[in-house]
């Protein structure tokens, strides 16, 4: 049976009303899981796994997979609106997405994220359909030396302007709440004394209309809005115009390709690393790299597309080889096995209904997510209107529940709180927590693959240059470091920057 016939078979399964319903349910829950900080796709899938025991295999795997790729769509929302990544892969979206929101373009950023996610997600499913076997074979070539070399190439990434990460959720909540509280007090001081009491302020608002909660642009404090006037513009921000939207296709294209390699080859955190790589690639290729970090559209489209394509890519080794590329696909494999269906090469031949039904459901699921996310942009933007005094307790509650539910371990929750305090300290002293979190994510894999490589080579370090893929990755790492050093040297030698510095110094003296 050819690919087209198989896909038609898949669509005949995926378009059944009950399968469609569970695909929709998965996408909806996935979007919610992605939106809620503290609950990632892993906890979402894990806590819902028992709920699928009563379903048949196709429905359960379609729903659970919908949660996974739905969370990639939803994860961008809080990143853009509140600078809190809904899940780890959305970390890079925080940088430019949040900057766009601050400039009053939250709606545009959310639209770009949704459309980019859809393009990349659909592309990922097409790849899954067409070239899964050769790509899976390529992934099999990645051994410990290749992983070590790949992780070695990471120093180029922390150079990027990275913002606070998932581990700093609580710190963010605490910091924002505190900052807001501080501003609240400052705001009080700017009012006449008799207006400082809440009741008096309400009377004042009633008379003057000042500080109404639905007017964040006029009164950021009472609206609980972090961004002040920008929120007002954000709520009125129209969806991106067609030309801008079309221009983003290029970024989504690059992001899709950026996501393919790690999506297949890097286990565990493929969708996370893909978004980092995509951001780095976009910044390198951009004609205006200085705009990155200040609301560059490509900085939203790239990472968002990449993490969606990568999350789809993670299904290739899972379905074709029965290999989990991370904890999420491991849970999905467990779901298949609970239903007596062994994943792997036999799945395609012995259970074509399940395999192709699942693949076809992803085409439908991506469309559902686009239809679900675009109209919801307005609702999500309204999140900015919720007073922060009510919003951050919710974030803290979901952080506690989300962390606890993964392992039912209260120790994990204590660690989260300690990390929150550490994150607060880091931000107070102006230290970027991103490299710290990046190190926490990469270090265990790096150490393990390094040890495995040295055992393979009997302690010989030349293994990293003897294997072609590892050698290429090491060369890329060296090139990135050289480019980084070169840009620093050039910046120091640049006479224009020295002249500008001298002029600004003279200007300051003249003003004094």
């Amino acid at each position: 049976m050819g690919t087209v016939e198989s896909l038609l078979l898949g669509f005949s399964v995926a378009l059944q009303p009950d399968v469609l319903w569970y695909a929709f349910l998965g996408c909806l829950v996935g979007t919610i899981v992605g939106v809620l900080p503290g609950i990632g796709p892993l906890s979402g899938i894990s806590i819902l796994l028992p709920a699928t025991f009563g379903l048949d295999t196709t429905k359960s795997v379609v729903m659970l997979a919908g949660i996974y790729y739905g969370s990639q769509y939803g994860g961008s929302t809080t990143s853009i609106l509140m600078r809190i990544p809904g899940e780890a892969a959305s970390v890079m979206t925080c940088i430019d997405g949040y900057a766009m929101a601050q400039k009053g373009r939250a709606g545009a950023a959310l639209c770009i994220a949704a459309v980019g996610s859809w393009i990349a997600g659909t592309f990922g499913v097409i790849m899954l359909t067409l070239i899964a076997p050769p790509l899976a074979t390529f992934a099999l070539r990645f051994g410990p030396p290749e992983y070590t070399a790949l992780l070695d190439a990471r120093p180029g990434v922390p150079r990027l302007h990275v913002v606070d990460l998932a581990a700093a959720h609580l710190a963010d909540g605490v910091l924002r709440a505190s900052a807001r509280h501080h501003r609240h007090r400052q705001h009080d001081r700017t009012l006449p004394v008799f207006l400082r009491h809440p009741r008096a302020r309400r009377r004042h608002r009633h008379r003057t209309g000042r500080g109404r909660p639905v007017r964040p642009g006029r009164d950021p404090v009472d609206a609980g809005c972090e961004h002040g006037p920008q929120c007002h513009r954000a709520e009125a921000a129209p969806a991106p115009a067609q030309p801008a939207g079309m221009a983003r296709v290029g970024h989504a294209d690059r992001a899709r390709f950026a996501s393919r390699l790690p999506g297949r080859a890097h286990p565990g955190s493929a969708h996370i690393i893909s978004s980092f790589l995509s951001y780095a690639l976009e910044r390198r290729l951009s004609k205006h790299p200085e705009q990155f970090g200040k609301g560059a559209v490509a900085g939203v489209a790239g990472p968002e597309s990449a993490n969606n394509a990568a999350s789809t890519g993670a299904f290739v080794p899972m379905l074709a080889l029965g290999l989990p590329t991370g904890p999420i696909t491991a849970v999905l494999i467990a779901a298949l096995m609970i239903h007596g269906v062994p994943p792997g090469p036999t799945l395609v031949n012995e259970h074509p209904n399940i395999f192709w039904g699942f693949v076809a459901s992803m085409y439908v699921g991506n469309l559902m997510l686009l239809a679900l996310n675009l109209p919801l942009v307005g609702i999500f933007v309204n999140v900015l209107r919720i007073p922060y005094a009510y919003l951050y307790p919710l974030v803290i509650m979901f952080c506690i529940v989300g962390v606890y539910e993964v392992n039912h371990s209260i120790v994990d929750v204590w660690i989260m709180l300690i990390m929150g305090v550490v994150g607060y300290g880091l931000r107070k002293f102006g230290l970027d927590p991103a490299p710290l979190v990046l190190g926490l994510v990469i270090a265990p894999t790096f150490e393990m693959s390094l040890r495995q490589s040295l055992i393979m080579s009997n302690g010989n370090w030349t293994i990293f240059v003897q294997r072609p893929i590892a050698a290429v990755l090491i060369a890329v790492c060296a090139l990135l470091l050289a480019l980084a050093a070169l840009s620093v040297i050039r910046a120091r030698k640049d006479w224009r920057s020295k002249l500008a510095e001298a002029e600004s110094g003279e200007g300051a003296k003249a003003r004094i």
Binding site: P50, A177, Y390, I396, I400, I410, V413, F429, W461
Partner: protein, 148 residues
């Protein structure tokens, strides 16, 4: 000498590095060809101390410690303390009671929102969350003293 933010930040990294070195002291270092369990922690701790010292040396470029705004510290500490109490009570009291208390304390106690608004918000949100997880999604949350 003016105490600057990077003096403190670098000092914390040096202290943390020394702590890691002390904690990983018993682990074998091994050789370069066959690194032991202690090599990576010691390597990382050594680098952390080195970079911490570099931060201290270059602290002149950072802002004076006195210029840091600490007006939010008491509020942040209050939130952390309330969250810590909630974590401590989560298993004995369960999801429903703990989260109602947490939300109410944060909104009414820490944020000084009106009593009834804070109470309605806390109870409503927890009830909706419980319905979503326990009833719709059939996911058990921590039962605690109420038994559900």
């Amino acid at each position: 000498m003016t105490l600057r933010t990077d003096h403190i930040a670098g000092g914390v990294f040096v202290a943390l590095g020394l702590a890691v070195l002390a904690l990983s002291g018993d682990l074998p270092v091994g050789t370069l060809s066959f690194p032991g369990a202690g090599m990576m922690p010691k390597l990382v701790a050594g680098l952390m101390i080195l970079f911490g010292l570099l931060i201290i040396v270059r602290a002149g470029e950072s802002a004076p410690l006195a210029s840091l705004p600490w007006g939010d510290l008491t509020h942040a500490a209050r939130i952390v303390a309330i969250t810590a109490v909630a974590i401590a009570l989560y298993q004995p009291l369960g999801f429903v009671v703990t989260m109602v208390l947490l939300l109410f304390t944060l909104t009414f106690g820490a944020e000084r929102r009106p009593l009834f608004a804070a109470a309605a918000f806390s109870v409503g949100v927890v009830a909706l969350t419980y319905l979503l997880f326990a009833v719709v999604l059939k996911t058990p949350l921590e039962p605690g003293i109420l038994g559900f």
